[in-house]
């Protein structure tokens, strides 16, 4: 099962002839993802790594049946690329591009919500999404992930790799890992992805990696408190970040006293999540608590018998 992408997902790569686009299209293909098409206006008829290139998303969809788009188009043109994908019936758009103006993303998101309420956007400024062993639609190193039962959702790239690596080293696999991106306006939120994990039978526990800025982690906490019975683990980066400073990601900034790591951790703790303070102990903590929960479960079953 897993969420968002699997072995049947057919991916079109927009911006496939660029340096990033061609490199990662190849990496994704080698991982086993069905990369069925590429799009670069004016380069139709070419091939990149054996992948046919089309002039428009419309042609790519008509010819190959692509249902997911992976975007590497440079920031000034990326909003156009997202809308082109949506207008041609793509259900899942994954936008890796960094540096898209907030105003453009506001308009794109507004357009999407009004016209395609069922379509999903991941990113921009994100590492993408991976269902280990089935499909990698993004730029993450595939080999540090392992198929399993833990769903990961994160705003950060390398911190996701760090967390996944810690889990994998301990034999704890992942159902799907989703990098939602570090920009202030983006597609799927922490809450959206947690909802998908909550409904996914393969996902038995959820690891959420948040950071300072905005109130998405607090909104996720509200949902967790009401709806989620699966164990949720959370790490929030930026407890030492000073207010008013943008910590790399455009979205990672504490403004107007809002978006502090402390407030997020408190909200998550209150919602019943296991908040992990030490980022080097994510794997260790998840393993320890899951084992304890299993024991409890066994005891309960034993008592019932």
């Amino acid at each position: 099962m897993a969420i968002l992408v699997n072995k049947d997902t057919k991916v079109v790569v927009q911006g496939i002839t660029g340096k990033e686009g061609s490199f990662h299209a190849k990496q994704c293909k080698e991982y086993g993802t069905k990369i069925v098409a590429g799009v670069t206006p004016g380069k139709g008829g070419m091939e990149v790594e054996g992948i046919p290139v089309f002039n428009t998303v419309r042609e790519a969809v008509e010819e190959t049946g692509a249902n997911c788009s992976l975007i590497f188009v440079p920031a000034p043109f990326a909003p156009d690329a997202i809308v082109e994908a949506l207008d041609n019936g793509i259900e899942l758009v994954v936008c890796i591009t960094e540096g898209i103006p907030v105003k453009d993303m506001m308009l794109v998101k507004d357009y999407m919500v009004k016209n395609y309420p069922n379509a999903k956007l991941i990113g921009p400024n994100c590492p993408g999404v991976i269902t280990p062993g089935e499909a990698k639609v993004g730029i993450m190193p595939g080999h540090i992930f392992k198929r399993g039962k833990i769903g990961i959702v994160s705003r950060s790239g390398t911190l996701t790799y760090e967390a996944a690596y810690q889990l994998t080293k301990r034999g704890l696999g992942q159902s799907t890992a989703v990098g939602i991106g570090g920009d202030p306006v983006h597609g799927l939120t922490h809450r959206d992805v947690i909802e998908l994990f909550n409904k996914d039978p393969e996902t038995e526990a959820i690891l959420m990696i948040g950071e300072i800025g905005g109130t998405e982690e607090e909104e996720a906490a509200e949902y967790i408190e009401k709806e989620v019975d699966k164990p949720v683990f959370a790490y929030i980066a930026g407890i030492t970040a000073p207010p008013g400073k943008r910590m790399g990601h455009a979205g990672a900034i504490i403004t107007g006293g809002k978006g502090t790591a402390k407030a997020k951790m408190e909200a998550l703790e209150k919602a019943g999540a296991y908040v992990i303070e030490n980022p080097a102990k994510i794997g260790e903590t998840v393993e320890r608590i899951l084992k304890a929960l299993e024991l409890e479960e066994e005891e309960r079953t034993y008592d019932a018998e």
């Binding site: 920031a75 907030v102 105003k103 540090i144 760090e162 979205g251 006293g257 303070e277 080097a280």
Partner: protein
């Protein structure tokens, strides 16, 4: 990107928002000339810095004659002004000279992004003059927040509702609010703020202060604004890092950090704190850092006299760890290593990377994981201090 008050006011005026009559001066001579042109006293002398809290820090002075003006300008120009928001201070290299405005009431007006709605919001309050953080903390119900449809923009009825609720002159307020929204959207602003917006004793609305911040991601199409940036307001090491595509922020501790990726960089700062230390900086070399960037990052870290130990924490994904290790080795040949350097590498080809570091003959201290690295860096920094 932040603009100065005088720049924001010039732009606001172009959009038809009333601002006090005045001009910016870089020298005392210019200041006196402006005072003569304005032709009346009292005048207000305002230090132009990228930081709030100027008033309380003595950065805003009302002067009654030329003598007082001279004294005020001399006390500000060329000095470093420290405010509660910027305890390290900001250099004052220009002052705004303005006619004084007779104030009846002060209001707050701003437009910014509401992240949870993914829409702009207009915010007004009758508690003007205070920092918005204070208003939020002390009297949150005093702020009215109205979401704006990104496609339609701010509708006149929304501005009318706000004007009626605050009892403000209807036509003037609606005109100011709609103009402010045009500034926000046409200039790709991340924040436009008038605090205070004052009702004068003559019943007119005037933007007594002005704040304008531009979305960095949109600077490629806001060239005119990009050129207006005053680099003296950015700490020198931060400005240098920016040139090399590095994201560096100076902090108060003594452990220099170098990390790839913003999230991991924040996590590294946090873990240093957990290990009992204080980070000297945030430094993200980016996901695809090359040898040159690593060398520059290294140089910037070493240039900070507060740094007593360095912690390098790199998770090599697509970029292989052995190549990163090579970069580090080459970089450290170009830079003098004055303090101990703890290195934690993880990811693809990590064994080869560690071997290269060990055989390089350079005095790197290797760490098993983030926690081990943080503890070692803290211990070494304490020894040096």
């Amino acid at each position: 990107m932040k603009l100065h008050e005088h720049q924001a006011k010039e732009i606001f005026a172009r959009y038809g928002i009333p601002v006090p009559e005045g001009k910016v001066a870089f020298t005392l001579k210019e200041a006196k000339q402006i005072a003569e042109e304005l032709g009346e006293f009292p005048l207000v002398v305002k230090a132009q810095i990228h930081c709030g809290g100027r008033g309380k820090a003595g950065g805003v002075k009302i002067v009654k004659d030329m003598d007082e003006l001279e004294k005020a300008v001399e006390s500000l120009l060329g000095k470093v002004l420290k405010t509660f928001q910027c305890p390290d201070g900001k250099p004052v290299n220009r002052v705004l000279i303005e006619k004084a405005t007779p104030i009846d009431k002060e209001y707050y007006l701003a437009i910014t992004l509401d992240r949870s709605r993914s829409k702009p919001v207009i915010m007004v309050s009758s508690a003007g003059g205070m920092e918005i953080e204070e208003i939020v903390k002390e009297n949150p119900e005093a702020i009215t927040i109205e979401p704006i449809d990104p496609e339609l923009g701010l509708m006149p009825y929304q501005a009318r509702e706000l004007a009626f609720s605050l009892g403000l002159p209807l036509k003037d307020f609606v005109s100011i609010a709609l103009s402010l929204y045009r500034v926000y959207t046409e200039l790709d602003a991340s924040l436009v703020e008038i605090n205070p917006l004052v009702l004068t004793k003559e019943g007119k609305l005037v933007a007594l202060d002005a704040k304008l911040e531009i979305d960095d991601n949109a600077l490629f199409r806001q060239k005119e604004l990009e050129e207006m940036e005053d680099e003296s307001q950015i700490p020198p090491l931060e400005a240098e890092a920016k040139k090399y595509g590095l994201n560096y922020i100076k902090l108060n501790g003594n452990i220099g950090c170098m990390v790839n990726g913003a999230g991991l960089a924040m996590a590294t700062m946090d873990i240093i704190k957990l290990a009992g230390g204080e980070p000297a900086n945030f430094l993200d070399v980016g996901g695809g850092a090359n040898v040159e960037q690593i060398a520059n990052a290294f140089r910037i870290l070493m240039a900070d006299p507060d740094v007593k130990a360095v912690f390098i924490n790199i998770f090599g994904g697509i970029l292989r760890v052995d190549r990163l290790a090579q970069g580090l080795i080459e970089a450290s040949k170009m830079v003098e290593l004055k303090v101990p350097v703890v290195v934690r590498l993880e990811g693809t080809n990590v064994e080869e990377g560690m071997r290269l570091l060990k055989e390089s003959g350079l005095n790197f201290i290797t760490a098993e994981d983030m926690w081990d690295g943080a503890k070692k860096a803290v211990e070494l920094a304490n020894k040096q201090a």
